[in-house]
Symmetry: C2
Subunit: 458 residues, 2 copies
């Protein structure tokens, strides 16, 4: 039972259906931060989260920003207790393509023990486990075993620009001993994980402008630089046949994998299971590395969106006036997104063909991070997971980016514990996002136990 009182555990068991009802309520709010037509709903989600903390007696602020509000809440202060900050986000990815959802993205639907909805796992469901564990302590013991701060933002999916600004201006408001984030995944079913590494990201939009308007490709083709031709050519030049990214000096500061790390990846690898998971019959990637290493611990280049010209039915012989692509690099320690942006711009300028005007939009960047495995907080987390899930965690690096983790390290000087309750086939950022409800409840229990474990080590 760890150090968690029996009545807390009992409360969690007894309130499963109330916890689920609350989760479904939050999932019904289409808080798509990238879509300004959802602004009222995004605001409503912030208010919903703030109301949860007020209900628990936390000192709660809804901080207005140039974008979506930040919810900041703190439990009644107890001296001589450590302070843990839970970070999460109430905003979600856009739900499109809508026609690929089995049930509507903002009407939670339970099938086979999973709740299907946009934000189910990323991050509403996982974030809520920590609110509910705090509720269990407060409703049974009258107080928490330590100090909790909750920092819940609404712009994680669009770059956290306003949260970064807030942290830079008010680091004292969120001083803490460590941060807990549940925005990652388990390694597989029944394989809870502590994620000790994350990739960074550098995201761009490249816009190419050619002739002043769309032209007839018969009359003009071959003589006017076609922006769509130029775009495919420029993007193709970003990566070679060996999967090596061609931006100058791109790999210069990459920390090589150690033999111990490569052995760890080897032990967790299952190529066939991976191919079945994503529905492919073959994979490609950077030569010299395994699929798991490519996903978790090596940089990558992906086109996230591309469009130009005619997308309708049939054949339209147009030479388009413009072409646009969104693309991103995933980064590993110690790559610097700002240096990459500079080198990328220079690279594109050297290859953009005559007759094309180029705009490169730099969306947001974050470096990759690796958290030390030997910290007492990591050990406390492992004990809590063993209690909550009934099995010891594996230690993994994950391919996704949580840019705020490097911000916390830089500005607050603290480690982030990345404790994921979801599965890696939960379709974060895809249609039919889901979260297993048994994992949701295990997450609440692990979280409740974690507060006791961390209180015990200080």
């Amino acid at each position: 039972m760890g150090k968690m009182p029996a009545e807390v555990d009992q409360y969690i068991k007894a309130h499963r259906s109330e916890f689920e009802s609350d989760l479904f309520e939050l999932l019904k709010i289409p808080s798509v931060s990238a879509d300004s037509s959802c602004d009222a709903d995004t605001e409503a989600a912030a208010q919903w989260v703030a109301d949860q903390f007020t209900e628990l007696g936390f000192a709660t602020e809804k901080i207005e920003t140039a974008g979506h509000p930040i919810v900041l809440a703190r439990s009644a202060y107890q001296e001589n207790s450590p302070t843990v900050m839970v970070y999460g986000h109430y905003d979600v990815q856009p739900p499109d393509p809508l026609d690929e959802w089995t049930s509507p993205p903002f009407e939670p639907s339970v099938r086979d023990g999973n709740v299907y909805a946009r934000g189910a796992t990323d991050d509403k469901g996982q974030m809520l486990t920590h609110i509910k564990s705090a509720e269990a302590w407060i409703k049974t013991c009258g107080k928490l075993p330590l100090n909790l701060i909750f920092l819940v933002e609404g712009e994680e999916e669009v770059g956290s620009e306003n949260l970064d600004k807030y942290i830079a201006e008010h680091p004292e408001k969120i001083a803490c001993d460590c941060v807990v984030i549940s925005d990652t995944s388990q390694h597989g079913p029944g394989q809870p994980a502590i994620t000790y590494g994350l990739r960074g990201i550098a995201y761009y939009e490249l816009r190419l402008f050619g002739p002043s308007q769309d032209l007839h490709s018969g009359t003009f083709g071959g003589a006017v630089t076609n922006p769509a031709n130029a775009l495919t050519s420029m993007l193709a030049k970003l990566i070679d046949g060996e999967g090596k990214i061609q931006v100058p000096d791109f790999y210069e500061s990459v920390v090589p994998l150690t033999t111990r790390e490569r052995e760890g990846f080897q032990a967790l690898s299952n190529e066939q299971r991976f191919q079945d998971l994503v529905g492919v019959t073959g994979t490609t990637g950077e030569s010299g590395f395994s699929t798991l290493e490519r996903r978790c611990a090596r940089p990558s280049f992906d086109i996230n969106g591309i469009w130009s010209g005619y997308q309708g039915e049939g054949a339209k012989t147009v030479l388009p006036a413009k072409a646009v692509a969104k693309f991103s690099f995933r980064l590993v320690p110690n790559q610097d997104p700002e240096q990459i942006s500079r080198n990328l711009k220079t690279f594109f300028e050297s290859i953009v063909p005559p007759g094309i005007r180029m705009e490169l939009i730099d969306f947001h960047g974050a470096p990759g991070v690796v958290v030390p495995l030997d910290s007492p907080y990591i050990e406390a987390s492992a004990r809590a997971i063993e209690h909550g899930f009934g099995t010891a965690p594996v230690y993994i690096r994950e391919g996704g980016s949580i840019p705020i983790v490097s911000t916390f390290a830089d500005k607050l000087g603290v480690e982030s514990l990345l404790l994921g309750w979801g599965q890696n086939d939960d379709n974060m950022h895809s249609p039919n996002e889901k979260f297993n409800l048994a994992d949701f409840h295990r997450g609440v229990r692990t979280s409740a136990c974690l507060w006791a474990e961390i209180a015990g080590i200080v």
Copy 2:
């Protein structure tokens, strides 16, 4: 005055506003053949054209096909007179992007002597000049000086598949001495042209399918073959840095340009005017050839449309499940589109990466053509143009394709006279398509004169 009676000329001058009213009526019908939601309008345009011929006392048929109907009309037969067939089309290109039109595409608007509407020049306006010249003869002289057949189809913009089938099955219904087509342009303002060469076309859609659904580019990027990355890479491999198309044997049968032809292109070239026309500050293309040669007489490769992933606001970190491009080659004599399709498929199969399933859709193809300059029909056309426009024509090759021209040569054994009244900045296939109304009336007059000239040479 050529051989045209004064009263015909007089009728044309006196009925300018009636001719324009009829043109605007036809332009109001959104007969977009590629868009099945426009089918009722496309049918209405066919009926409108058929009614014009019935009104002139022509034997008129509206021939139903698997697609849009063909309108076939013939004047009262006169023995010992030559038979000329006018070919045109009542269908138009899709009007998108709609937001770039100054006035709505199907509400004809006259500005600075031009009528702006989808189909104004391609081909409703130009086709109508021949109907109106026939009207002028019949209303004044009671009959035409020769036999006229009109063949007006509704699928030119989508490949003319059903017209091809009809011609193959019923060549006797359209036996004639020559064909007249006004679906090209003048060389420049005040430079009417006889187009003696056209490029062919081979048009494709390439669809690439990767993972079974959209994935998170952080969790999976670098390990799953991204269909958008694969698409840009495969398309970029179609053309090298010198503008040479890389499909195997692509140039094998290309007829080289003669010194006389290259001198002709040189005389008509105006690089600065061309760059100003299309709104660019530089051009690219096949090395070793001028801009005009690249446009008119050399093969080319253009992406006509491309799409994949997220096209909305902001940054979505998706690894898309599929990616699609529409693209086309323009061909010159004696390239064979079917041979190119086979070689293209083999080429793509050799470069498609693991983890990607490929579909290549072959839309429609047509070889390039060159018409002999020394035929008496060409000479008659030159005299008619000199009368109708007040200046002698220039002889040009054009970059666009009119696949039906090679069909007429193959199946009927006749030459096509390509007499264009439009301007090359008329925005065929682009927003703000237009047709100069003075050129429209000059076209009617030239056409009326042409019937007399051709009648005189037999």
